[in-house]
Symmetry: D2
Subunit: 383 residues, 4 copies
């Protein structure tokens, strides 16, 4: 409602501004009995954190997560997991010129207009820094999904006009972390890197896109109509900062395909169940998962904060001015956006797993509603 919550049964609530004291995230609805440590979460945070390479902002944030609640002896207890991440390298001074002179196409103006004020340091709440919370929550979701045999992965499949060829899911898993761009196709990654550096040198920035895929999603996730898997994925992905397009399956291209070509005939799988011959439908039929891989793409526009000179209008002085955004900024978003997209995919899927009753909302390891005295505090893993 107010924008700071995501999920229906697996509920994420976040706080924090880019240059505030701390970022924070509460995960309510994680079942009890999941083995979980700060390290599990840190791994994904490190993939998102600033300063990790030459093509990211140089802001130095360790992004160390501290879990404040919801864990006992290394296992979740079913109660909310409170997490806090301190902001350590905030230098707000550089943003002072923009307090009343909004940066072009940034959230500066709209936030100020809506709230009559805004936290102006580093973009405040509108900054993509806030996605550190999403990634923390997403790491927990991924761990739950992995127990159920659901694997998911994303990589950068386009930067500017440099487009990666299709890569296998295995390549995604193995190679998307091999380079700073997070593209699982090494030759393309090199080209992308070159292009990014070019724009970076010019004081400009460039757009790109992220491809995602999930395997092992069972048949039957999603609800009819307004809560279809595609609708909920649409919300999740369009919430990713700078996103201007969401597609799944054939995506935008589907407009040029005939029914006969796009339709996937049915055959039987080894277990004798109907299974589609192909997967042009992207793993979702009638809004509900078909058991085939779910895949799609998210387009992220170029970062709006650029050193190149731009014109803005100062609402206090009433004057037009030229401005250069000198802060430390990314020249391109997808490389750091990969774990964010994965997080939103994981959060969406884990929610549907809970909603469908496939995941016991009270505790992992058991059938829903089982009552088991052997399963108790001194024996959280039911051994």
């Amino acid at each position: 409602m107010n924008g700071n919550r995501f999920g229906r049964l697996f509920q994420v609530t976040t706080f924090g501004e880019s240059h505030g004291e701390a970022m924070g995230c509460t995960v309510s609805g994680c079942p009890a009995g999941l083995e979980l440590s700060e390290e599990d979460i840190q791994a994904d945070l490190d993939r998102r954190k600033p300063g990790q390479s030459m093509i990211t902002t140089s802001r130095g944030e360790p992004d160390d997560v501290s879990i404040k609640s919801g864990i006992q002896d290394g296992y979740t207890t079913g109660t909310p997991i409170g997490m806090v991440i301190q902001n350590k390298d905030a230098r707000s001074g550089k943003y002072e010129p923009f307090i009343t002179a909004p940066r072009p196409s940034h959230g500066d103006f709209t936030y100020s207009a809506k709230f009559g004020t805004r936290n102006w340091g580093g973009g405040g709440r509108s900054s993509a820094r806030e996605t550190v919370n999403w990634v923390a929550a997403g790491a927990i979701a991924k761990k739950l999904l992995a127990r159920e045999g659901i694997e998911l992965k994303a990589h950068v499949n386009q930067i500017g006009d440099v487009e990666a060829p299709e890569v296998s899911f295995e390549d995604l898993l193995e190679h998307s972390e091999d380079n700073d761009v997070r593209c699982a196709h090494p030759e393309t990654a090199a080209e992308m890197q070159e292009l990014i550096e070019e724009y970076q040198e010019e004081g400009d920035s460039i757009g790109g896109s992220i491809y995602f895929e999930a395997r092992g999603v069972p048949v039957g996730l999603g609800a009819p109509r307004f809560d279809s898997l595609s609708a909920r994925l649409g919300q999740a992905m369009m919430a990713v900062p700078a996103t201007t397009a969401f597609e799944f399956g054939l995506g935008r291209e589907a407009r040029e395909w005939t029914g006969k070509d796009r339709n996937d005939d049915w055959e039987f799988d080894d277990a004798g169940n109907p299974t589609p011959v192909e997967n042009d439908h992207g793993g979702i039929q009638g809004g509900i998962s078909s058991g085939e891989p779910i895949y799609g793409e998210v387009t992220l526009h170029a970062p709006t904060s650029i050193p190149k000179s731009q014109q803005t209008a100062d609402w206090e002085t009433g004057e037009l001015t030229e401005e250069q955004v000198i802060g430390r900024h990314d020249p391109v978003l997808p490389p750091r956006g990969v774990p964010v997209v994965e997080a939103m995919l994981a959060l969406t899927l884990v929610d549907f797993m809970l909603l469908s009753g496939r995941l016991n909302p009270d505790r992992v390891d058991d059938q829903p509603g089982e009552y088991d005295t052997d399963y108790h505090p001194s024996n959280p893993n039911n051994e």
Copy 2:
């Protein structure tokens, strides 16, 4: 949660299957004092209804809406508006072959797998017939928005590889209803019509897309992060049956634009407020409306029900069979999808108008929270 509800303050709840007795829709959260009649709603239902032209299904449904509650003396009372639309021309028999032999890429299989059963006549709940409810609710939303100076319109901008050039908002308003395709560019409409008929004759179907635009949306709609205007539009539009892509502003193309090119400089408008020089951002910045027109596109894949022979797997007999979907079906979806997309746009915007307090949730015409004895049952329009 279960897929049958949309909206947070302007709440739509629907029921009904394609070949059931009736479709129904309850709108809760419409303020009191809005002049409303069945005719207001019927106009949009007629744009969506089947059998309206040669390029739609020949099923004959008058889609007459009957309002059961929430209106008194022609004005809304602030209590829920219950609407029922009878199904009159259902012929389920033709679907019997598909009960256990799912149509390719339709919801037949996934619904059956999820629920262990499904209403199989005409696609049951998974049928796009259900959007008749959305259009009914959307018509009320449009009326509320119009009072606030918000106008919105959609048209078909691509069918197969036939793409319309950009058209002005004025042309959208005036010409999108001029032809059966609902494309506001008459020459393109003719080409589209020809293409559709071609596929129809072949027993095939074809995809397409819908362009939408809203004008007069005030600055400041939308919430940070997960409830951004783009995220909520994403959910709304991805819920439209057969949708595989949602884009706003530059959409998918934004991946190839630089920051400098895409960023919209600021100037002052006549009232001395900052206003963007261009609108490459599509009316949304930082997830919040900028006051510029909101525009985007929705891609709809080709209808899956086609007369051409396809292979399916009958889970009862365990045999592969060839099937032809003989029922009455659309060869293309966008022409009837136009009012559906408009409805989802209107429902999303009216919800944000209520959430922002710009629309008084209790009654139109007044400032929120005003208490006014002159405004009473015998004087619903406050005269």
Copy 3:
């Protein structure tokens, strides 16, 4: 949010005014595979309907429910169940004097003040007639609960100062429908009847209370803190029209008990699990069900519409007037409130059964998430 929805996974949405065309209720979230007919629902509606005895209003409403969707071959399909109940005996004319002269302690004034208008016939949306929808939805919830071994029942335990002694659950089940008052203790029922008739003759009305009890509720329903079973029951019961108090367990009396006296020691049950020796805690500990019977009371104030002369203030004329409410009204609410309280109890419990994963949200009969090709449309009962 707007008051017309109840439930989180088992979602009820209602419409309708006392003297409008029809009442309606949509139940979304009922799993597929439940055998269900209009007769199942009608039984409870008949217990609530007006004109059933001399101590209820004489308005003649058959309250015949018509199911419009969500059922196929006598079984639910997992899609929303739309129900409509026509209003047949509305005579609004008698309410005209009250349009601008609000009845004392009724919702006339507050509805008009909030919405600036109201449907004035028979109390419109504020009328307890609206609970016909709740009872319809509750009947479905009861059927689901019964499959899980959960039984629930209510009866009238006090009218004015006539209080029934404690009765056993077996007596509740067997005798609460034996008399017009719906008190399971026959001698008390006779006294109550006499008292009610006395007030009826005087043109006055009288308050009372309803006792409810649920058996077979498994251990572990309810969530910590804000969504405790007691909190959600509190909302459910306080929503019942005319309710001024909700109590469970020792209720209000608990204020006078010591910890030692109220605390229930633990022993072992036959299966070797801890079980409380007594049930002063009313089946809920720490907000979560303990496996013991859940019981409590709801107090309903006297009906506000009485023939006795009362003073009101006409906001149109600006004059004080004496008014007598001549319409057909109940002299006491609990007898017809019994099925309403049962419905709210059932709706609350079924929601928690779904939320805990004990009920498969997709279909009855199966473990959540099972995928089973034998369970299909031509075999809805999985035989």
Copy 4:
């Protein structure tokens, strides 16, 4: 859903266990422009904190709140307010005997049964310590309400069989903090204190109740039916730990009143608007506020943790044992419950103020939807 969230537009999310590292609370939906400091919140936390008198637990917690986000230059920014309160004096060792031997009538058993585990130190998440979060959030709600002229206050009106006479709202405001019991009637307070000490010495505990009242609530808050003001207050208050009864207006007593006696006639107020002669209806008619004071009572049972010997059943050893709860515990709950009840009242009312549009959800000081360039970051108070 999972119990850790409260509120619809004014959204509270909490985390933390009694003996965990920290408690935390995120408030999302507080409008921008409210002057707010940690001191504002601390004042109420100090009223709830342990160790404040001889009749509370001796646990020593300063309960210092630290605001992590959502504030700039002393004013709220409209973005979520993250708050953290460290736990400093946790001594879990004393609870070890109870890990598998549940304390009578505590949440020990039900939490373990539900989650298969629990944080056992000091009651973990089921501990009333968690209400520190509620009080922190409630303090913000109170500040918002005060701006709108809404004042609210609670006091202890009964302990055991010692009952306070009715006190005026002015006395509530002035005298409820005069004594350790928090009873605004000094003579009764002394008696209560004596009674509490008596039970404390015996190693027992005692129940009691809290009276609450709100003044200045405008006409028209609350929604029809399921979201009536009374229903939402019912949920809020029944969530307060140890609560077994909620009443408003005449409460439980209403069952013995006739319609004629309970109904409040109408007269005109000085402004010529209808106003009730009395307030037996407790400020709520038809579920919606009437403009009269809202008042009611909450019954809290005796604390379950008592030094007196009790029998429990150890599910690990399978043996019955006698146990004495040696930890530091309150002999009575209402004195520290007063700020908790006030918090839940404030949270409920502020939510309805936002839902009704009376409070601008985006920022205080302005009419909803106003767009005002003078109101900006360097001028948060619009001066």
